[in-house]
Symmetry: D2
């Protein structure tokens, strides 16, 4: 089995690495947080002192980082990992970043004889823990085949949507639609409640009607409609408002770069920005409902 | 079994009446279109010369009309049906109309000893034909119980969401969210396609991810992604753009009446209005994607 | 000189009546507020016990009321003023109301031999006090000529924009554009300030550039950019957020009634609704800037 | 008097250079268009074979280019002008570009002993021809003083709004507000006309009311309301839709970079994007009114 380096052990990366260990892989990890590294070591990982040490001898390098600049910083530049990753290795970047950044790093990797795929995920922290993530992959088909077994240890669905960067584009399309759907579902529930409807009954109806979505069925934004939702625990946990804001910003940049119009997507971006300014940036993104329903 | 009067045999009312006949009910029908009446008669209905004749002797009166003014015109006023419907009868209005109008007609009905529920539907023409509609009911619980058997002959799910008018509010909440979701899904697909993605692959990924919805899975707005969608037959059939525009207008009025904010809902209303002005008012509402994707 | 009845002595009506008195007119006044009546009486008006008494013997009846329902309530119905206003009199309604309501009351007035014009105003409380209001008139040209001298005692500009109701439509067009311009100016100032610009210098530049407007030059939404603005006194005084919200609601209704699209106008409506929900409904409408700039 | 190099002789740069020549300056020009160079030569300029030749011996270098990438390409890189501009010279960049780009080039210039100010303009082609432009300047006060005399030969107002990049931020604030104001004015006129109002009378009223703006008074978007507007000549000439789209994109990037919300600004960006997709990208930006008024 391949030796794997895993860089970035946050809310997503941590459980993903744990699933690789469970599947029997040898995994060298690095993260700036000692606590995160310690958790991985307890699960069987080998700790590396820095990212360069982590990739030494690895056939597969997986990164799960917050934003484009972290990915560029990790791989490119004089002290970037591309200078030390062995030719013939494969990089799987699971971060959600700008498509242009994914293409840029992939080109630099290819120039050094290293394969790379962008493989951002859908499924959230729950999917990461359960090993049921969806991987949305951009890159060469052959590179994906090399990655498939490893991806299957962390997820359930794999979609190959195109060349390098395409995974990021598709992820942004999904998250943009999700951001709009969540905020629109919040508007609908707020409107119903303001007219005296029971949010639970309204949600049950919507969940089997044409407006059904992950936002009504799984992560309902109204408190106490479903158990185990961020909304039912003060909007804690889940997918942070400012992460959705970041993804909608990436979608807007992707649209502006080609003159596309995404009127609902950009309005949603502004709603999440206002929600952040209202002090809810660190809460789950479903807290955007509070913009239109003070009592939610 | 109750004798039923059915007023309004359009794209929805026609198949609904047919399902009542199939279930063995005696149904007297009226519609301004001779062709619609003829189809119902062929299926076993009795034709009435006018609405008043249709309700003579009926214990249950069902109406399925385009807008508030038609419902008010049918029941209220000097020559309205409330003057001839027998006390003790039950009115089931399945039209999608303003909640205030539903309340007004119900009050007038009650004053004459006639029960009434508002029971707008979700499920479209396909659901009407298959007898799998969802009924979203506002009114007294006892009145709903009187209607239940009849509703079950036409649909699968029945939600009792509150007092008279509440069915309309809930329907508007569903359709508002649906209108936003459809247009946002169109934006996401258009953004992906403009970046070189295959709309079919992108839709398949979204359909199992967090942005999944009726708009990705059932009525995908991109041509040739799914069979049997309006989009795959030139946006013909389905739920007309101008009907969605009407519903979003009703939602906006419901919001304005109580000072609520529905930023995405009202932006969507404007998108469907622009789509109508672009000459696509009679096409399926998923044609709104053409606003942001000329080649769709 | 005509005897005038003046109904509605609020922030606008009070100073308007005072200007009529200054011009030498005999004015009978009515308002639900004793204090408002007392102020008018101190300025020379005659107090009436109710609206019907106020219009007794008046050739001209002026009303300045909050909303459509007040105007309908005043003139129509069994105890409405149309039952007691003398045939041959002229009604000048200066309220900002729904165009359809203005038309309805005018028709009822005409049916009783009473002329009527809708004459909503622009210029705010400052313009009302200074007698520099702009009157935006709908109705017959002959009726406007009968009113002209009286209007000139209260204002500076008179625009005849069409038949009954047209004054209201034009007023809504103005206020809709104003509502958008104010919020957009707030966005621009907030963006500049967040990038380190001085709001005063930025405003001075904008005030002589292509984005110049009443919002940069007269009622700047940023505190302490101009003296004597609501923004510089905690957003008190001025034109209330909820009045702008009302006018944008009327504009939205006017658009929905004919299938028109006003995407920016309806988005602005939602911004003012959110500003109201944030507790700023009674403040000047320029406080909408606080939605995008917490420190403003 | 200083010797000036002028790079970029388009619709704006051409007349600006002509005004410098009129004021007696010695001007060496370069543009990729022979015709543009020939016009400048006929007005007294000296033609240079390329940009590097144009700046030889120049104390002041003025650039007026379409976008960030052109400015970066002109000054930076191995064959960029900074390698040949004489230390002690002053660069005045009048292009509208990203603030971050203006800062980057200024830093590189300073590192080589060259002063630089960003001085984007407001006033359009008419202002460029008449020498009445407004310059919105970011950079050191001392550098602005060196530039002042030259700027006064091309414009009327000079605003110093902050350090390098601040001129670009302020310009974007102005143009973002302008973009919203123009589209909102179009919505208001379209709404009025759809209700039977005369666009000329409505515009005259608005122009002296609280919604007055450059869009009602100078560049009215409705055809034949004012003479000499783009709208009155088929939306030709003026400030192109796609240039406004570019500026709104820069404003959106400036907002996203700091998490700011500009809901109206981004909606306007989408309206201009849709107007471009409708085939009106090269027309004046006031043609955005056609999105909501087919007959305009």
């Amino acid at each position: 089995m391949s030796r794997i380096a895993f860089i970035g052990l946050g809310n997503m990366g941590g459980p993903m690495a744990a699933n690789l260990l469970k599947a029997g892989y040898s995994v060298q990890v690095f993260d700036l947080s000692f606590a995160a590294v310690a958790t991985a070591v307890a699960a069987g990982a080998a700790a590396a002192a820095n990212a360069a040490e982590a990739v030494a001898g690895a056939q597969i390098v997986i990164s799960m980082l917050p934003a484009s600049r972290h990915v560029e910083g990790l791989y490119l530049g004089d002290s970037g990992l591309l200078a030390v990753i062995e030719p013939g290795a494969l990089i799987i970047d699971c971060s959600t970043i700008a498509p242009a950044c994914a293409q840029k790093v992939a080109q630099a990797a290819n120039a050094r004889g290293v394969d790379m795929i962008d493989a951002p995920v859908s499924g959230g922290t729950a999917g990461a823990a359960a090993g049921t993530l969806t991987f949305i992959v951009g890159g060469e088909a052959a590179a994906l085949e090399r990655a498939r077994e490893v991806l299957q240890a962390m997820g359930k669905n794999i979609f190959h949507v195109g060349a390098n960067g395409a995974g990021q584009v598709a992820k942004l399309c999904n998250n943009m639609a999700l951001g709009v759907i969540m905020a629109a579902t919040g508007e609908a529930l707020a409107l119903g409640v303001a007219h005296g409807l029971d949010p639970k009954v309204l949600s049950q109806m919507m969940a089997v009607s044409t407006s059904r979505s992950w936002a009504t069925e799984v992560c309902n934004p109204w408190p106490n409609v479903l158990d185990n939702t961020p909304a039912s625990r003060g909007y804690s946990g889940g997918f942070g408002n400012d992460l959705m804001l970041k993804d909608l910003g990436l979608a807007a940049e992707a649209a502006m770069g080609i003159g596309a119009s995404i009127p609902l997507g950009e309005l949603a971006r502004n709603l999440y920005a206002m929600n952040s300014q209202a002090g809810r940036g660190a809460l789950d993104f479903s807290s955007v409902v509070k913009l239109v329903a003070k009592d939610a």
